[in-house]
């Protein structure tokens, strides 16, 4: 049991959450962070989908890593990711249809998410299945965390709601408050991601 949670394994899980965050530090997966974060719910679903897909594709590739011929490894990785993406996409359609409609092509486009290929190439091809699994979960959650932060700010300021519930009290609207239309535009999520990166770097300045 102690080996399962050795320091190295723990680091594989915790590093991507903050110090090595795929979005704020490696600046990967920005496109989908812009596209699906105008509301909180699709952001959460997207984050979870990417977490699941990264974790399991990491495990599968890690199991196959010694048998994959080096020259066609990208194709093999793509096949695995594509299969998982299709499964997740079908599950979303079956159980949370409205969110799946909101996410539209972006679920399918998880296959092109740089975080996935990055983790498969950089981690799963060199490590065993258990660390790979932890690494996948960590990176997926690190990505999801940023999506949730951006989605939270954008939905709160852009629509005045959170997860579809009104949170800005009516008297503020009566007093002249208006929802910020720019928050709904993709441009604003880039600015918010920038601010998150700014905050993240200022906090971690001493640690590095």
């Amino acid at each position: 049991m102690s080996k399962l949670f050795s320091n190295e394994n723990k680091a594989a899980f915790t590093n991507p959450l903050s110090m090595d965050n795929p979005v704020t530090v490696q600046v990967l997966g920005i496109c989908s962070a812009l596209a699906v974060t105008s509301q909180l719910k699709p952001a959460i679903v997207m984050g979870l989908s990417v977490t699941v897909i990264t974790a399991f594709s990491n495990v599968i590739i890690s199991l196959l890593r010694k048998t994959i011929p080096n020259r066609i490894r990208i194709i093999v990785q793509l096949v695995v990711v594509a299969a998982l993406v299709t499964i997740v996409s079908q599950l979303l359609k079956a159980y949370v249809y409205d969110v799946s409609v909101q996410l539209s092509v972006y679920v399918g486009l998880i296959i092109t998410n740089c975080i996935l290929m990055g983790r498969l190439e950089a981690f799963a091809m060199q490590n065993g299945p258990w660390p790979s699994f932890l690494d996948g979960i960590g990176n997926g959650l690190g990505y999801a965390a940023i999506l949730v932060i951006v989605g939270f700010v954008r939905e709160l300021l852009g629509f005045g709601t959170l997860l579809g519930y009104n949170v800005i009290p009516q008297f503020l609207y009566d007093a002249g408050y208006k929802n910020n239309g720019m928050m709904v535009m993709p441009a604003m999520s880039l600015i918010i991601v920038g601010c998150v990166i700014w905050a993240h770097r200022s906090i971690n300045k001493e640690k590095k």
């Binding site: 408050y177 208006k178 910020n180 239309g181 720019m182 535009m185 600015i191």
Partner: protein, 390 residues
Amino acid sequence: MNPIKKLFDNIHPYVEEGGKFHAFRSLVDGFETFAFVPNTTSRVGSVNIHDAIDSKRIMSFVVIALLPALLFGMFNVGFQNALACGGDMTDYVGMFLYGLLAVLPKIIVSYVVGLGIEFVVAQWKNEEIQEGYLVSGIIIPMIVPVTCPLWMLAVAVAFSVILAKEIFGGTGMNIFNPALIARAFLFFSYPTAMTGDATVWVAQDTIFGLGYKAADAYTAATPLGEAAVAGFQGFTPETIQDAVIGLVPGCIGETSVIAIALGGLLLLYTGIASWKIMLSVFVGGAATGYLMQALGLTEIQWYEQLVLGGFAFGAVFMATDPVTSCRTECGKYVYGLLIGFIAVLVRVLNPGYPEGMMLAILLLNLFASLIDYCFVQSNINMRAKRVSKK
């Protein structure tokens, strides 16, 4: 001894390192260097060329140049209010006072928020206060409609000072004009409050008993707004005359071409603004306006493009911003021509935006350094060729 100077000398010991009110050092420094030219010059380095006036004096001149447009804008606010509510059209003093009361809170909010952020950042980074907000602070209230709520203005000012200026390194380092970023933020964030349903251009309510209250929501489109509606047949000469004088609905400071021209003359006389940029913006706008008219795309005459909306204000005060415009002399022509071209292009071809000056200047702000780079490189290449021929 000058009493103001004496006051600053008295305050100084308190705000020096270790003094009681050290936290306010940047504040005091800022006001002192604003009131008096600092007595220090750079001693490091070998060559120091100093202009007779420093940046704070330049900014003060720009603020003075803005005053005619601002004062006339205040009058126009009262005038539009009286016109909308059928008030007394001869009470000019009342109109001006009404406008003053309507505009003054915006100026105060803009300065308190903007300068507040600048002071905090300067104290935090332990730098000298940069007075760059002096001009933006007065321009921002002038380029919003009179009904723009104060909290929106405050949010927009905070957004533009932090994200368009301070993160690039403060005054002189910004890529985009902060005043235009504030306006663009308002424009895209709160479109109904900025252009919306045409009730935004005229103050509808009394202030401290002054002015008049509109019975119903009074709608008045800007001339360009009218022109964007289908079935537009061209302006009457009266509209154009009003637009030149400035008695049309619009943003507070942008309406009067005459008042803007007065400010522009001061800027040109003192050499603060580049005449090359100003001229080429007007030429670009006129040529494009003529082209659009000749192609039958618009009913607006080419000269009308120059006097309507924010064209003149943008050309005189915004495009000539020395920080965000081109530095090379040839580049200034290209920069100005393209601003005029794009501003009219947006006006005519984009049905959603009757006004294109803001977008044109912001776009060219982005390209200014590229234009400069091209001209500098071509000059280098030319001279290199000359050397190699010998």
